[in-house]
């Protein structure tokens, strides 16, 4: 009886594994289709979407070469701007919001509480609510370049970061900071050499969430940046389809592939942190 139920359980697990494997393959198919079509001549992408790119369909690397200057804008430039904006914004957000969060939870004055509750409130405000006025304000203040847009990201994205940092700082025992203060550490030094190292796990979670948001963000940079000069990858890809009557689908797929590869590499290398960060952000947000 017992061995019977055990083998039944083993059989169930095998069936489950098989079902999950099939779902897994279906999950990867869209990305594989992009890979296939990036090597296909334009005319075949629509008619033979799921065929292997062989024979007359094979385009070699011509799609990738064409994609580089596609849409009258060099692709490497949009990659560069995406990297600049993502790195600068994330760094700025991590530095400024962790400082503010520490201050908020240690000082706890009325002003701090007002800022904190405004931040929490900003988390439920959809971007469409402020997009028009925000893009006008950013324009007036000349925040429309990749080097200044991080300030806009800091302002609009501060909510979640402050919320997560405050939650964590509250759990840090005060005694360590007191000891530092008694030893004659200034608050600035206390923060940077005592508090900041302890914030590392939350830094990683917040950083991951911000990177994922900013790298993929389309509407904010589209409305804020000077589009003729600066395009990020999502803006560039949207432009390919948007403004040209006949789109070279093969070249578009080549660019999509090129834009997915770094994301997948990033994911596979920091998978553990990414999944942890996402879970932390979801539970709190």
């Amino acid at each position: 009886m017992k061995s019977g139920s055990l083998s039944a359980e083993r059989r169930n697990k095998t069936i489950l594994s098989v079902v999950l494997s099939i779902i897994c393959i279906i999950y990867v198919l869209p990305v594989l289709t992009v890979l296939l079509n990036s090597f296909k001549l334009n005319t075949y992408v629509k008619t033979d979407t799921f065929a292997l790119p062989k024979g007359e369909m094979w385009a070699g690397f011509s799609n990738f070469i064409k994609g580089m200057t596609f849409g009258n804008y060099p692709f490497w430039k949009s990659v560069l701007y995406s990297v600049v904006i993502t790195v600068l914004s994330t760094a700025l957000i991590l530095l400024c919001t962790s400082m503010a969060a520490w201050f908020i939870s240690r000082v706890n004055s009325r002003f701090c509480r007002i800022v904190y509750y405004l931040c929490v409130f900003s988390m439920v405000v959809p971007f469409q609510m402020v997009m028009f006025t925000l893009s006008k304000t950013a324009d007036t203040l000349k925040l429309n370049t990749p080097w200044t847009i991080p300030i806009v990201y800091l302002g609009f994205g501060a909510g979640l970061a402050i919320f997560m940092f405050v939650g964590f700082v509250k759990s840090i025992p005060l005694e360590i900071e007191e000891a530092a203060a008694i030893d004659g550490c200034s608050p600035v030094r206390t923060f940077f050499s005592v508090v900041l190292p302890m914030l590392k796990p939350t830094m990683i979670s917040v950083g991951i969430l911000e990177i994922m948001w900013i790298w993929n963000d389309y509407l904010l940079p589209y409305l804020v940046l000077d589009i003729n000069k600066y395009r990020t990858i999502p803006i560039h890809i949207q432009y390919l389809k948007g403004s040209y009557g006949t789109v070279d689908l093969g070249a578009t797929m080549a660019l999509i592939l090129l834009s997915i590869i770094p994301v997948i590499v990033f994911y596979l290398t920091c998978q553990k942190h990414i999944i942890k960060g996402v879970a932390a952000g979801a539970v709190k947000g």
Binding site: Y27, T49, I104, P126, F132, G157, A158, A181, I256
Partner: protein
């Protein structure tokens, strides 16, 4: 206890002198990036303007106009339907996958990695990947995803499932792993069947995760923009008797965007009124979530 309190004050007093340094950058950016645009947005929704500098106060006119716009009302019902349908499908499937992956089968980590992957791809890129796939299938039947509303609707549902199941799965896995092992063991010893254990022990214990995921997928559904723009951009259109077109697969966020930046100049105040209505809707969902989770916590 009292001593601790006074030392808190001592620490906070020395820190508070540095407020300009610690709070300054965030407060300045927050005012530029959120507070001022938000306040100005509320004010402008009550105005008629072409340029912000010559805005004219007109009261609630923009709101009545927004509520009588067939395109906006269609977008509202379409979005609500989409949000509810995607909510049910995504959560049921995500829970099923999470449950399967916590049964200790081989390769669970690999499956988890693959299922989560689409989450990192941005909405615009996702939209183009899937529009290629759907058109690849539908072109064999001489049609396209842009030809029929139902194709656009279900296409977007499939896309969102592909993207979001992995995300919700992660939250459910965390919830399932927190269910006390001995509780399940006790149920089994008492002779409960597998499905009884699932419904009577496991699911009540993961209710917090279910609440989080339900609200997350609901608000995600309401706020959806990039995927909607990239997949169908509102097509197909139906021309109304008055000459205005209703974009049948256009969701709320895209409708607001098109009212702001579409062909019809001078309608910014009216678009801003739509944005305020949208904000009230989404914020209402957020507050409902907060109230709901608070109530649950009290009960436990």
């Amino acid at each position: 206890m009292k001593k601790r309190h006074s030392s808190v004050n001592a620490v906070s007093r020395t820190i508070s002198k540095w407020g300009w340094l610690f709070m300054g950058p965030v407060v300045v950016a927050f005012v530029i990036g959120f507070v001022w645009p938000f306040v100005q947005g509320i004010y402008l929704s009550l105005c008629k303007f072409r340029l912000i500098s010559d805005a004219q106060f007109i009261g609630l006119g923009n709101y009545t106009k927004a509520f009588s716009d067939p395109g906006f009302l269609h977008a509202f019902w379409y979005t609500a339907l989409f949000a509810v349908v995607s909510l049910v499908i995504i959560n049921v499937l995500a829970f099923a996958v999470a449950y399967a992956l916590t049964q200790g089968i081989k390769g669970s980590n690999l499956f988890r990695t693959v299922f989560f992957m689409p989450n990192l791809i941005g909405g615009i890129v996702l939209g183009y990947i899937w529009s290629m796939i759907f058109d690849g299938i539908l072109s064999r039947y001489g049609t396209s995803i842009l030809m029929e509303t139902k194709y656009g609707f279900w296409g977007l549902i499939i896309l969102m499932c592909w993207q979001q199941i992995g995300y919700m799965m992660i939250i459910y896995i965390a919830g399932l792993q927190a269910v006390p092992e001995d509780m399940i063991e006790a149920a089994r010893i008492d002779g409960a069947s597998k499905s009884q254990t699932l419904f009577k022990v496991t699911i009540p214990n993961v209710m917090p995760s279910i609440t989080i995921c339900t609200f997350l997928s609901l608000t995600n559904g309401f706020k959806l923009f990039d995927q909607n723009l990239a997949l169908t951009a509102g097509q197909p259109f139906i021309i109304q008797p008055g000459g205005t077109a209703v974009k049948t697969t256009e969701m709320l966020a895209l409708n607001i965007y098109n009212t702001f930046y579409g062909q019809n100049a001078g309608s910014q105040g009216y678009a801003q009124a739509k944005a305020v209505i949208f904000f009230v809707l989404v914020a209402g969902l957020g507050l409902a979530q907060l109230a709901f989770t608070r109530k649950k916590e009290v009960q436990q």
